[in-house]
């Protein structure tokens, strides 16, 4: 945590005119405005505030409760009003991975994990390098390269799934992991964000190294990359969640072959086909969100920062 803060400070200290959000004194304004006034009005407002917070919290947690309850229940428990199954069916978990299960969940989890990890690391590597090149290397026609990239950001990704499907079909990539991974490796938006980030990165560090004869390659890997970890982590968390939860594209290119199903497609196939054994489907859903809950628990700080600064979510 502290090393991350230190990096932030280095970057903020060097980052010139852009007024980044002051992180440290953030709560300063708020307590003042709440605390400065006394009396009954404040107490009334405070009671209302806490009631609203508690109601909202309950509403937000109800779906999680249903998810857990139904995952551990029997078919009968699903329609019941009980808070928790009287006899939790822990075997719902092991059944998921048994040979008898037609959900193919283990395979789907493996596919999703491979896709999310390769896509996140690969796209960040490619985007970070491109962003650095665009921000820092004084190539004469850099702008001629950059503007078309911005132009591609104008076209909403989901709308292009038909033409992209056509390309995958021409490549004979349908129903393979390649089709699920490779097109997602080239993120114009991540490149754009990295470029903005590197423009704000203090130039002095690199310039000192460059004077000492370090190449762009060396400067990027030894100076810039190690000092960009907080920003990269923020994009990585967002990218991982987006990749893991992606649905339309995996459905389009791999929806016909169970061996290349992702977790989302596998669950959707059973959800839309009206299966009868819902507890197992709920258990699958519960297991499928565990990696994200872990990411969320440990990296929420990066996620919040990424969302706040970029306005994207997976």
């Amino acid at each position: 945590m502290t090393s991350v803060d230190a990096v932030d400070q280095v970057i903020e200290a060097g980052a010139a005119p852009r007024s980044r959000r002051p992180r440290k004194d953030r709560p300063a304004g708020t307590p003042k405005m709440v605390g400065a006034r006394g009396g009954a009005m404040r107490a009334g407002g405070s009671v209302f505030r806490w009631i609203a917070l508690v109601i909202a919290t309950v509403l937000f947690l109800v779906p999680f409760w249903l998810l857990i309850r139904n995952a551990l229940g029997t078919d009968n428990d699903i329609g019941s009003t009980s808070f928790f199954p009287r006899h939790p069916q822990w075997h719902n978990f092991t059944d998921l991975f048994s040979a008898n299960s037609d959900l193919g969940f283990g395979r789907a989890m493996m596919n999703s994990a491979i896709i999310a990890v390769v896509q996140t690391t690969g796209s960040l590597l490619i985007a970070a390098m491109a962003g650095y090149g665009l921000a820092r290397i004084p190539y004469r026609h850099a702008k001629l390269v950059f503007y078309p990239i911005v132009l591609t950001l104008m076209i909403p990704g989901a709308v292009t799934f038909v033409p992209s499907f056509v390309l995958m079909s021409a490549f004979n990539w349908l129903d393979t992991l390649k089709a699920l991974i490779v097109p997602g490796l080239f993120s114009g938006f991540a490149t754009f964000l990295f470029r903005q980030f590197f423009l704000n990165f203090p130039k002095e560090l690199e310039e000192a190294a460059r004077v000492d004869g370090v190449s762009y390659w060396g400067a990027f890997w030894r100076i810039v990359a190690p000092n960009s970890l907080a920003f990269t982590s923020a994009l990585a968390v967002i990218g991982f969640i987006g990749s893991w939860n992606a649905f339309l594209w995996p459905l389009v290119v791999a929806g016909n072959s169970p061996s290349s199903y992702t977790v989302q497609v596998a669950m959707s196939t059973f959800l839309t086909a009206q299966v009868q054994h819902y507890p197992q489907l709920f258990m699958a859903a519960l297991v499928s969100i565990l990696p994200l809950v872990l990411v969320f628990a440990f990296l929420q700080r990066y996620l919040v920062r990424g969302v706040a600064e970029t306005g994207i979510k997976g």
Binding site: A16, P17, R18, R21, G29, V34, R37, M41, R49, T57, F60, L61, V62, P63, L67, G79, S80, I126, M129, A130, G133, R136, I137, P138, Y139, R140, V145, I149, M154, I155, P156, G157, A158, V159, T160, V162, P163, F165, L167, G188, T191, F192, L193, Q196, N200, Y216, F247, L248, V252, Q264, M267, S268, L271, T272, L281, F282, A285, I289, V295, G311
Partner: protein, 319 residues
């Protein structure tokens, strides 16, 4: 996407840095061209193959009749576009999007802002509440659809337990078209999934407001509450509010997952992408027609974005 790009761009540092690197003096760095392409080449090549080529190919296909094959068959000119615009199902899908947007955008805006203000005002357990509201952001639409379809809005689900507890009768929420109750699951599932995301964006906006403004207002006799919210907080959130509306609109336009998973193959409540999916990739495999539809939808969303940009003065460099 463009709105997102503008968002990030709005706060970028001035043109100074970029200008400097383009100065003639800086140009003569040894091997700059080579190094530039080492860094930018992989991305550019990928973008060309996986973004530009499909778009051009799709554009060509959209002028041809090509069913069950992705190579152009018979040239038909603008016929695919005409057919698409004449298709009542396509026009209906635009209506579905409009209704969806009318519900989801104001609700998301108001509730996310409300949550952000609440979370921003407390000092005790702030991280806890923020996490609770933000947690659904990590959940996929498929998982949420499962919970909504088989946990809340099924025949013996939570919603019917609540309505019968209140003395009402059971409803079939997802299949009732008169009245169109299916909007309730569709809107609530998206609210649950995205409110936390927009709350974080509003929180960031709230924390950028200078405390001095409030101090000054208090000196002038204002009391904390509605007045300061109306005359300080809300105007100060102008840029954030515009961003939230645009991001929300673009996301709603591309809605697919929850409609597909909650309504399945129903012939009602089909937004544009669900319609496009069934036309281009469903049983009919009309790739030429589907490509034409994709371009019509892309053009509509680009026009939306540009008009909004004009109206709100979004992307002005003096932001």
């Amino acid at each position: 996407m463009s709105a997102e790009a503008d968002l990030a761009g709005a706060g970028q540092i001035g043109t100074g840095t970029r200008g400097r690197s383009a100065k003639p003096g800086a140009k003569r760095v040894k091997g700059a061209t080579l190094w530039f392409w080492v860094f930018v080449g992989p991305f550019t090549a990928g973008l060309l193959i996986f973004a530009v080529v499909p778009i051009i190919w799709g554009l060509i296909l959209s002028f041809f009749e090509s069913q069950n094959t992705v190579s152009p068959q018979h040239f038909v000119g603008f016929q695919n576009y005409v057919d698409m615009l004449k298709d009542s199902a396509f026009v209906d899908s635009l209506k579905v999007f409009t209704i969806f947007a009318i519900f989801i955008i104001p609700l998301t805006f108001a509730l996310a802002l409300f949550l952000a203000v609440l979370v921003n005002q407390i000092t005790f357990m702030r991280t806890f509440f923020r996490s609770v509201f933000f947690l659904p952001t990590a959940v996929s639409y498929v998982v949420a659809s499962l919970i909504w379809k088989q946990g809340i809005f099924n025949n013996d689900g939570l919603a019917n337990h609540v309505t019968s507890g209140l003395g009402g009768s059971d409803q079939s929420w997802l299949s009732s078209q008169h009245p169109p109750l299916y909007w309730i699951p569709l809107v609530t599932v998206r609210l649950w999934l995205q409110l936390g995301f927009y709350m974080i964006i509003f929180l960031a906006g709230l924390q950028r407001i200078s405390p001095d403004l409030y101090e000054a207002a208090y000196v002038d006799g204002a009391t904390p509450g509605w007045t300061t919210f109306r005359f300080i907080t809300f105007p100060q959130l102008r840029a954030t509010s515009i961003a939230v509306v645009i991001l929300n609109l673009i996301a709603a336009y591309q809605a697919f997952d929850e409609f597909y998973n909650l309504l399945g193959g129903a012939n009602y409540g089909r937004p544009p992408l669900v319609y496009l999916y069934s036309t281009a990739l469903g049983t009919s495999q009309q790739y030429g027609l589907g490509s034409a539809g994709a371009f019509i939808l892309a053009i509509i969303i680009i026009i939306f974005t540009l008009i909004q940009g004009r109206i709100f003065g979004f992307g002005r460099t003096d932001d």
